[in-house]
């Protein structure tokens, strides 16, 4: 197992773990964290897999930096929405739409 494949498979494992959490967990914060885990896994695949040609690749480093910025923006937006949702409805999980009471 060469190092770049090790990185890639670790990344893939993280991605799958995150995906599982995203689907299986109820609490919105946990879902958001799971999403971040998926993101980190993707970045690891991106950086790790690209190393196999000629050492460290500056292009993917730049891409991952951009990706991290995007991920932070998305996480921040998610947190704001979750906080507001919690204030308005007193819930911390998404429930089926049949339950239509709009909070206090």
């Amino acid at each position: 197992m060469t190092p770049h494949l090790l990185y890639a498979f670790t990344g893939l494992l993280l991605f799958v773990t995150g995906l599982f959490g995203m689907i299986a967990l109820d609490h919105l914060l946990r879902k958001l964290l799971a999403l971040n885990l998926m993101g980190s896994g993707t970045f690891l695949v991106l950086v790790g897999l690209a190393q196999h040609r000629n050492g460290v690749d500056p292009v993917v480093q730049a891409l991952v930096l951009t990706g991290i910025v995007v991920a932070i923006a998305a996480t921040a937006l998610g947190l704001v929405l979750i906080r507001r949702y919690y204030h308005l409805s007193g819930r911390s999980s998404l429930e089926p739409d049949t339950n239509d009471e709009a909070g206090p």
Partner: protein
């Protein structure tokens, strides 16, 4: 000249987003007039320039490809840019009157609106896979913000669900991009397609394509991944719903279509093509059927979007290993479907917004009597419906006609059944709204009349969608070879 046009196109939305962030809603609206005028002018000039000289590659700020941002400006891209300018301007003008300027949170409407526009332009023009990802994320984040703006618990739940679905979709796409880069060492779509053609034995690219398509299908709300769409599109303010249904969904589909046409031939398979088509067909039938059952007016329109998006996925089986002529027909039909649906659905959502504003209720059954008080908006709704039902001479008809020819030409007659059934079902839900509107209910005579401009905008969009059927030929001619490398 061209550099100025490109700068205007890409720079205006971003600059306007920042400027309107500092202004309130009213000042932002006055600012938006100028911005929409600039954007419209630049789009038309660019379109004329492409029609004259053909497409070209444009390196942003003269930075070359791997680290710089390369843009592909071709006939299809400028057509979609022009479409975006048309629909977004209409929605912006509508929103300026429709939204309540005294609510404090509305001042964030314009920045989000402009960021959305910037993201859309970035996706239409993007030539490399990673920048397409950034464009997609810009679109998703601003779209989620627009849905959530000032909403109550329900709106926030819808927008959270939308956010999670959109982010998972983007990450699937990004994972595919990571695999592609690991395999080929390039991110340019053209370069990847070239390499994939030379080395057909590489297995990784097939998996990467599947991951990217799955992620984009989730973002485009392909059946059965459409669960997030109806709540989000149904609960957002009408101008926002119109933007989301008309343009935002098309962005992720556009990327999927480009990927498929570049890589599908070498990396795709009969199974994948037929699966995408089958899911699209299921979306057409299920979405239309659900639209017939929804109690709320805007939910009807939202489910109709699920159905109309299903048609787009027929592109996959109709372009896989068929002759160039049939593939061309399918691509032209699909492009017309994207344009006519964008115009018709924007008109329909805006008209539905007027009806809701007028009756003060979002239920279909409360529309009773509105046919007498608000005939103009109802007429726009119906005209948009004509395009969705794909009756001649609408743009929807021209699109379905091309698709029908492609299905027969490629011997896949089963998709023709879907086209016909979808048309009939959409007639069913449009007439359901009409039946409710013309009923004379007792006691309901308290109608609010929306301002004249709110009624004129959906009418203009609906007429454009109808006229597209007549003007389809020149539009297609200027697009040249859709989704193909040129220039």
């Amino acid at each position: 000249m061209m550099a100025w046009l490109m700068a205007g196109l890409l720079f205006t939305p971003l600059a306007w987003a920042v400027m309107s962030l500092m202004a309130g809603f009213r000042a932002g609206w006055r600012l938006a007039w100028l911005g929409m005028a600039v954007q419209g002018l630049v789009s038309v000039l660019l379109w004329l320039a492409i029609a004259d000289q053909g497409g070209f590659y444009y390196a942003l700020g003269d930075w070359p490809a791997p680290l710089g941002i390369e843009l592909r400006v071709d006939g299809l891209a400028v057509t979609f840019i022009l479409l975006t300018a048309t629909v977004a301007t209409a929605c912006g003008l509508h929103a300026g009157v429709y939204l309540d300027p005294d609510k404090p949170w509305q001042r964030y409407f314009w920045p989000l609106f402009w960021f959305l526009w910037a993201g859309l332009n970035a996706v239409w023009l993007g030539a490399d896979l990673f920048n397409l990802y950034v464009g997609l994320e810009l679109i998703s984040l601003s779209a989620v913000g627009l849905v959530a703006l000032g909403g109550a618990g329900d709106a926030l739940r819808a927008s959270l669900r939308y956010l999670l679905a959109a982010l998972v979709g983007s990450l699937f796409y990004l994972l595919g991009v990571a695999l592609i880069y690991g395999q080929f060492g390039t991110l340019s779509l053209g370069g990847v397609a070239q390499l994939a053609e030379d080395h057909t034995a590489l297995a990784g690219a097939g998996i990467a394509l599947a991951l990217m398509l799955a992620g984009l299908a989730l973002k485009t709300a392909l059946f059965p991944l459409h669960g997030w769409l109806p709540p989000a599109h149904g609960i957002a303010p009408s101008p926002v719903s119109a933007l989301l249904s008309a343009l935002v969904l098309k962005a992720s589909f556009y990327i999927a279509a480009r990927l498929w046409l570049a890589l599908g031939e070498t990396q795709g398979s009969y199974g994948v093509a037929q699966l995408a088509g089958a899911l699209g067909a299921a979306a057409v039938l299920w979405g239309s059927w659900m639209a017939c059952l929804q109690p709320r007016l805007k939910q009807v329109v939202a489910y109709s979007t699920v159905a109309q998006v299903g048609y787009l996925f027929l592109l996959f089986p109709l372009t896989w290993q068929v002759s160039d002529q049939i593939s061309q027909q399918a691509q032209e039909g699909m492009t017309l479907q994207v344009i006519s649906h964008a115009l018709a659905k924007a008109a329909m959502f805006l008209a539905a917004g007027n009806l809701v504003l007028s009756t003060g209720s979002s239920k279909v059954e409360d529309l009773a009597g509105v046919g007498r008080f608000l005939p103009f908006s109802l007429f726009s709704f119906g005209l948009a419906g004509v395009s969705l039902m794909s009756l001649p001479p609408s743009g929807g008809f021209a699109a379905k006609w091309l698709l029908l020819q492609a299905t027969i030409g490629s011997g896949q007659w089963w998709w023709a059944l879907v086209l016909i059934a979808g048309g009939l079902l959409s007639a069913a839900y449009v007439f359901r709204i009409y039946r409710a509107s013309f009923q004379e209910a007792s006691g309901q005579d308290d109608f609010h009349h929306p301002p004249r401009r709110l009624e004129a905008i959906p009418m203009a969009l609906a007429l454009l969608s109808l006229g597209l059927g007549l003007a389809g030929e020149p539009v297609l001619a200027i697009m040249g070879l859709p989704f193909e490398e040129d220039g």
